[in-house]
Symmetry: C2
Subunit: 513 residues, 2 copies
């Protein structure tokens, strides 16, 4: 049941003096009945101090304990899935299929971290026993703050990849609930709290705080006992909080995935020959009403015909699609503002607004685009800008001018290979994931996935927020020199009790010493 309370250092607190807020169904615009209490300054302090106080104990838990905890989270989310899905749909108006899909993805993500802990080699145990006895492993960095994301009420929020990767690492977590889906967030927090009580992890290691004010997020990021932050959201929000994290007396790792325009480059022969492209791209641009981080916001085509017909075909394909509303009226408003800004650039940029949805398409010459760098800023929503290059040189210039991206897609036929070989190295410096077929929406959660990219796609291209490698954001190497065997963490002990693959004097092995 949604209570509107905050989970403060392992205790659900109701506060009759709290500022309150409600959530809204973005489709019906109905104000939902639950009343949520905003966390106050004292609750923020208590939650973070409790997290910090539990850190040493949590960090020392065995992988077995953490596995049991993560499995209990799965179990508790499943046990309350009907209520969670109902809140999800009420607060986001996302369709049932998406709700079910996102719940399953959330459970699957947890499973990936269970597997990671079961296998154990992520801890990177490295033993040098010749000369000085030096043994290194990864160790959690401390309490982490996780910001729920507006566009993924489950998979990138309360029990999403940020929270679960931090808990798997042994880091306490304080979740800042996204106010657009405060009820969904609270229900998931209840599941995590029920799970933590069944486990040997200290209950203080998980808190859940809500509120609508920016001050809440700012206080969390600024708190001296917080040692890292995970964020998925807009550039404006992410960059603001990143700056705050770097300006602290003790700067801390702040991983923000801030989205990008995910350029799709279509080489000349592909534009001419692949008639399936407009439909495929139209689906990708409008998928989830354009609210995916990997939404293709820029389509760079090479077409020597000055009157390219590609835009017409793509526009037609988009016209035929029906769209759900965006997850919040504020996001919709910002999207419409973005479109209006573009419409005012008449002449140079041709904007096509779909008649039966908010989807839209722009068309601009490469020449103009190259001179107008703000055209490559993201318009978050079901919009894409076609940049028309009349030759490969224009396309290379467009590519060189782009900033960092989560993804870039290079679509070609074998006849385009020469052009592709010139374009590819440029793109390799710009993106975290490069696709050679298909569309960028759809992010597989596995070890070969990279979801992150050079700034401004993310604040640190050396990490990912999707896939099991997301755990490395919260771990640091720690070396033990001449440590008595009994005092070593189990992963580094002679007996190798977990039978881990370890690097022993340079060789990977799972032997005992």
């Amino acid at each position: 049941m949604i209570t509107g309370h905050n989970l403060v250092g392992g205790v659900w607190e109701s506060n009759s003096n709290a500022t309150t807020y409600k959530t809204v169904n973005p489709k019906t615009e109905e104000i939902l009945p639950s009343i949520f209490e905003a966390a106050n300054a004292s609750q923020i302090d208590i939650a973070i101090e409790a997290a910090a106080g539990s850190f040493e104990t949590f960090a020392a838990t065995s992988f077995k304990t953490r596995i049991a905890f993560l499995k209990a989270i799965q179990k508790e989310i499943k046990a309350n899935s009907v209520e969670i899905l109902s809140a999800f749909q009420a607060e986001s108006a996302l369709p049932e299929g998406r709700a079910n899909g996102e719940l399953q993805r959330t459970l699957d993500q947890i499973e990936r971290f269970v597997e990671l802990l079961e296998e154990g080699s992520f801890i990177q145990a490295t033993l040098n026993t010749k000369g000085l006895d030096l043994r290194k492993m990864l160790y959690p960095i401390g309490p982490i703050v996780v910001f729920g994301a507006s566009n993924f009420p489950l998979a990138f929020s309360t029990a999403g990849g940020d929270t679960i990767s931090a808990l798997a690492a042994g880091c306490p977590v304080v979740v800042k609930a996204h106010p657009y889906h405060a009820g969904t967030s609270e229900l998931v927090a209840q599941a995590i709290h029920l799970a933590i009580k069944q486990s040997k992890v200290p209950t203080e290691a998980f808190s859940h705080l809500g509120g609508q004010s920016h001050e809440l997020g700012m206080s969390l990021v600024s708190h001296p006992l917080v040692k890292g932050v995970g964020f998925t959201g807009s550039f404006t929000g992410g960059k603001f909080l990143f700056d705050l994290a770097q300006q602290r007396e003790e700067p801390i790792p702040f991983f923000a995935e801030m989205g990008s325009i995910n350029p799709v480059f279509i080489l000349e022969n592909k534009v001419k020959k692949d008639t399936t492209l407009p439909a495929a791209l139209a689906s990708s641009i409008t998928l989830g009403t354009g609210q995916f981080c990997t939404n293709p916001g820029l389509i760079v085509i090479c077409d020597s015909d000055p009157e390219t017909e590609f835009a017409i075909h793509l526009g037609e394909a988009m016209e035929s699609l029906e769209l759900e509303p965006m997850v919040h009226s504020k996001i919709n408003k910002k999207y419409i503002q973005g479109l209006n800004r573009l419409k005012n650039l008449k002449g140079e940029i041709h904007t096509h607004l779909c008649s039966n949805s908010v989807a839209a398409l722009g068309l601009v010459s490469a020449k103009y685009f190259i001179e107008a760098p703000n055209l490559s800023e993201e318009v978050f929503g079901p919009y894409s800008l076609i940049v028309h290059c009349q030759n490969i040189d224009e396309m290379l210039t467009v590519a060189r001018g782009l900033s960092g991206q989560l993804t870039a897609t290079l679509l070609s036929t074998p006849e385009d290979e020469q052009a592709l070989r010139v374009l590819k190295p440029i793109i390799q410096s710009k993106a975290g994931r490069i696709l050679f077929d298909g569309v960028p929406t759809g992010v597989a959660v596995n070890q070969a996935m990279q979801h992150g990219g050079p700034f401004p796609a993310s604040t640190d291209s050396r990490f990912t927020s999707v896939g099991s490698d997301a755990i490395y954001r919260w771990l640091r190497p720690l070396s033990f020199q001449d440590c008595p065997n009994a005092l070593l963490p189990e992963a580094l002990q002679n007996e190798n009790p977990f039978e881990l693959q370890r690097r022993v004097n340079g060789v990977m092995t799972n032997v005992r010493l």
Copy 2:
């Protein structure tokens, strides 16, 4: 031969209009004859643009090419070692043994990266071929600026760990020479330039710029085409440049190792029983005239005797040692200022100045130390502060109050085990390396070494600046989705031409697909 010129984008440039400077022998105070030209703004631009221009080509080089390049650097340094060692000793006044040792360490460090490239698994090739074909590897982040360190003219300077790890990663490097050893730095740069000309690496990928002004470093860190920075030095310098790097329009990874006070905790029974400790600690405190990053600047002892004799014994051990001068008169001046600041705190802190060297020792009660946090600031040089705890509780409070450290040392006897088990988890959150025997000076260069630590010891505790893992500062994951085999980097191709250990569908293997 030292020319005083700058290496700008692969070309040695002389500039008759340049601002010039000279180096000084810190022992004799003799001004050395070479005249060095400071790099100007245009040379900075050219060097960085050349680095950026060479990036895609360098990034695409095979491991074999990079191995040949690194081996050529070793060869060229060896070929000119007499001149390099002579400049090293003239500019640093460090003794011959240290000069030879540091040269050998520099060559050994290069060898570690040769081995890393030969083995190849550091690239973390990860292939998922079921469902979407997704293949990930690490890819260089772009041009790196390396600051030479004053206290290691070879091992942490021009061909030191920062430069070599970046070159091994496939990142172009622009070295900012340390002005205290500009001649040594230039000679090493000459060796690297000779090596790059023999290799298939673009000559533009290595530049070497000198100058005394802070503006040089600031311009390099601020340049939009620079993608990362390696720095070893003081907190003041490192933090200033770190802030600059984070305030850029595009923030970049800035790894600074800024030293620390490397606390040594000595538990009650160890203080009483181990009579060898004063001599061992005296050597460590004064080693290299106290100019090592891991110099023990804080010794926290547990001794229930209010009149502890430990300070007397340590003072006596330090008296007997003769010290070389510090590497520069400015560093010496700053050290003396630091000591004077402490001497003025009479009454609360007892300061013992050695009569036959600049070494010094302080003694303070834990009670006073806990209330005076600025006492835990580093005094760079052959100085250590003894904090006298009368019981383990005081020691735990001292430990909890400390900020991040490169190392912490816990010395105990088996009778101290109970106290040690309480102290250890606190220390695990504070340090990058924990020693249970010996002294913190002396940093083995191997894969189990961690040289870095929670802020302010370094700017990012998730990385190291010593050991082959130092390469991960300059690499980011890059995923290829549905990429034609022929277009993939060799490390990800079906044929596995390098026979790398790769993670294929979750399993480590070196098979071909």
